[in-house]
């Protein structure tokens, strides 16, 4: 059992939790992930390490409420417990020696990109962060990100905060203005990462993406996380999650991520129903 030391609602869809897991906290690096189960009947889901505190022995995860399991997780209370929490899994991001980096975070991707930005900033690298959200209500980690970079660019799809537009618009203008990065790190929905790669490609700008595929074990034993990179099949959980974005077959990856969409939808509906019943109890 792993204790939820802290729970914080970042926006109506995104929740932060600090989990007591000393063995994971002692070892994890930016870019790695964990696999958790909420309860004995739960499924195993991967979540990226958003932060860690080696002294306190805690690992922070930030997740978007997208399916039944994340709903269930969001319903757990501070001080409560989750059944399983395993990690650190995957390869750490290769940040060594980087001098100038652009970190592109889309929505929840900002949470996953944050430890990278922070580590790079602490190493003394010049870090441009481009953070994109649908609207101002969904903005997360703005202060944290600002403290972890040289330049912070905020974009919203509807212009309700920061600049109006997508992260790709800002990135393109930065590249056009002559910025050259050792690497562009793009983390967010697959579709965003795909478009970021389309923008950087003509500039021959090296781009690393973090592939959040479906997973079961997270240790290389099932292959459900496989994707095609440079024509070869790779396992995201052990060969990644970071890959050279210009080599990733995004069409295939996006298709594979829809493998259980129907079941997920049904599970959400069922959970909402039983949950509403609970909520409505005692309400006249």
């Amino acid at each position: 059992m792993y204790r939820i030391v802290k729970k914080q609602v970042l926006n109506p869809q995104v929740v932060l939790m600090e989990i007591e897991a000393p063995a994971v906290a002692a070892k994890c690096q930016p870019g790695q992930f964990t696999v958790l189960r909420v309860n004995e009947q739960g499924e195993r889901i991967p979540l990226t390490v958003a932060d860690f505190d080696r002294e306190k022995g805690t690992v922070t995860i930030i997740f978007q409420i997208v399916g039944k399991t994340t709903m269930l997780l969001a319903d757990q209370e501070e001080g409560g417990f989750i059944t399983d929490f395993v990690g650190p899994l995957g390869r750490a991001s290769e940040l060594e020696g980087l001098k100038k980096v652009a970190v592109i975070g889309g929505g929840l991707g900002c949470a996953i990109a944050y430890p990278q930005a922070k580590a790079l900033h602490e190493m003394g690298a010049e870090v441009d962060v481009v953070a994109g959200f649908r609207d101002k209500d969904l903005i997360i980690l703005q202060d944290e990100m600002k403290a972890a970079c040289t330049n912070y660019y905020l974009m919203t799809d509807d212009g309700s905060a920061g600049e109006h537009g997508f992260v790709t618009n800002k990135l393109e203008s930065l590249l056009k203005a002559g910025n050259q990065y050792d690497v562009v790190i793009a983390i967010g929905p697959m579709i965003m990462m795909k478009f970021v790669c389309a923008v950087t490609k003509p500039f021959n700008q090296k781009t690393i993406v973090s592939m959040n595929t479906i997973m079961v074990d997270g240790t290389g034993m099932c292959g459900c996380c496989r994707l095609t990179v440079g024509g070869e099949t790779k396992f995201a959980c052990v060969d990644g999650p970071d890959f050279d974005g210009h080599l990733v077959d995004f069409e295939e990856a996006m298709r594979r991520s829809k493998m259980y969409l129907d079941q997920e939808k049904a599970a959400i509906e069922e959970y909402k129903k039983s949950h509403e019943c609970n909520l409505m109890k005692g309400v006249k």
């Binding site: 063995a23 994971v24 002692a26 070892k27 189960r37 009947q41 739960g42 499924e43 195993r44 039944k68 399991t69 059944t83 399983d84 929490f85 395993v86 990690g87 650190p88 899994l89 079961v216 074990d217 240790t219 290389g220 034993m221 099932c222 292959g223 459900c224 496989r226 994707l227 095609t228 099949t233 052990v238 295939e252 298709r255 594979r256 829809k258 493998m259 259980y260 079941q263 997920e264 599970a267």
Partner: protein, 466 residues
């Protein structure tokens, strides 16, 4: 001695009706009653030279335990088995007896051999349901050892060391101990409650099982030594699935058997209240001919498929699966497409599997493995309509641990190089056994290796302590 019962056939095993069981996950073989067991035991003629024992990788004294069954001394029979085999309830169910003990049985020369496996299972089940066993925690000898991987190899090694007084800590990557016994072999062949009962026994012996611990990630071998473990056993299995590298293998609806079986067995996707999803396929092709393929096919059927094919490139006699599993699969209506190999998986415009192209094969000269090599018949291509393909082609050891342990020698397949008798690896104090060393093999061989390594680790630590 009473005259032996010369009936040429085994006491039949009571089984669930095939048309019923193909829709449920309850155990297929129901087990002998006491009467059936005693009756079958009388078929053993108690040969002096005990050829059957030679066929057993852990040398269970087979004629002795069968003699005790004859005398209805079931408890004593069980204790005779566990003197050398710590998981009889498991082995009685999953060992390939037809190539081991029963292959050597004299009765097999004329008719069927004695049903040694079924009798072993009977003794274990009888003991479990009639004797409330409480293990005493042995007196500590003050030494600490670590066992990585809680499959049959690790469990056996841990049990033996704990009985010698070692403080044993197991590190298991999954959230449950058991290895393939939990995630691979289905409930209908090996009820999970039996596996958990065996594991409970280990905990009573004082073994500490740390789940959710991926060795190599949370701690390296060196760090474990630093933490005070004096010797380490690696029983990490062969969990890396192979694919065929044919076009279309990454379409939606193609799974490794490991993934499919894990969703069913470990994650219980079929059970009420459990959250893990499974793809509900209607027509499934399982590629391969081993136990894993049979299990995947029979699971797919139980998950609601109307038609399930086994696609295997050699012929029936070469099928590596246990004979009983093939027989059960056929009874349940699994369709065998033998001498046939997939060449391509096809999908609809959205990328979901809709069919698989295959080619017929014929057997040529024997290859390095001694089996006749399958050769494609030109022009024999055909297509089967399926909406899911499960690849059960075999597995290799997972590279995760060895990639962070450069001093650990492995061969070209990634198997850990270990001494055949002791399991000693290229690193002092580090032993290995089971599938991690041999590649995908059997439960009993993994257990045998765990046992040998435990003895060697004891010797190593005791000699150092002097």
């Amino acid at each position: 001695m009473a005259k032996a019962n010369m009936t040429p056939t085994k006491q039949p095993m009571p089984e669930q009706d095939p048309m019923v069981r193909r829709n449920n996950l309850k155990e297929v073989a129901l087990g002998y009653t006491e009467e059936m067991a005693v009756e079958e035991a009388t078929r053993c003629i108690g040969c002096k030279n005990k050829p059957c024992v030679e066929g057993c990788p852990v040398l269970v004294d087979i004629p002795a335990f069968i003699e005790l069954v004859k005398e209805r001394k079931f408890k004593e029979a069980y204790l005779t088995i566990v003197a050398t085999n710590s998981l009889p309830a498991v082995c009685g169910r999953v060992c390939p007896q037809e190539t081991q003990c029963e292959a050597k049985c004299v009765r097999g020369a004329k008719g069927e051999p004695v049903a040694i496996g079924r009798l072993e299972r009977f003794c274990a089940d009888w003991y479990m349901s009639n004797i409330e066993e409480e293990f005493e925690k042995p007196v500590s000898n003050g030494h600490k050892v670590a066992v990585i991987g809680a499959g049959p190899a690790g469990l056996t090694c841990a049990g033996d060391l704990a009985k010698l007084g070692y403080q044993v800590t197991m590190f298991e990557a999954f959230h449950l101990a058991g290895g393939v016994l939990m995630y691979g072999i289905p409930e209908f062949r090996l009820p999970k409650a039996i596996v958990q009962k065996e594991i409970k026994g280990l905990i009573q012996l004082g073994v500490e099982i740390k789940t959710n611990m991926v060795a190599g990630k949370v701690a390296t071998i060196d760090e474990l030594f630093e933490q005070g473990y004096e010797a380490i056993f690696l029983g990490t299995g062969a969990g890396l699935p192979m694919f065929m590298n044919i076009p279309g293998e990454n379409y939606n609806g193609v799974f490794s058997a490991n993934e499919y079986l894990t969703r069913v067995n470990l994650m219980k996707c079929y059970a009420d209240g459990f959250d893990t999803p499974i793809f509900k396929a209607k027509k499934v092709a399982v590629v391969g001919g081993g136990n894993v393929a049979m299990d995947a096919a029979r699971c797919a059927q139980r998950m609601g498929a109307d038609e399930v094919y086994i696609v295997y490139r050699r012929s029936e006699v070469e099928l590596p699966a246990r004979v009983e599993e093939v027989h059960h699969a056929k009874e349940e209506g699994i369709i065998f497409k033998l001498l046939c190999n997939p060449v391509k998986v096809n999908a609809d415009e959205k990328g979901w599997v809709k069919s698989m192209d295959c080619i017929e094969m014929e057997l040529g000269e024997p290859d390095a493995s001694g089996r006749r090599r399958p050769i494609p018949k030109p022009g024999s291509d055909f297509t089967i309509d399926v909406d899911a393909v499960i690849m059960a082609l075999g597995t290799n050891p997972n590279p995760l641990l060895r990639s962070v342990t450069p001093a650990l020698q492995t061969n070209k397949w990634g198997c850990i190089v270990a001494d055949e008798k002791t399991g000693l690896t290229s690193i002092e104090g580090v032993y290995a056994g089971g599938d991690a060393v041999t590649g995908a093999a059997t439960v009993i061989l993994a257990m045998g290796a765990g046992k040998d390594a435990a003895a060697a680790m004891d010797k190593y630590i005791q000699s150092k302590a002097k």
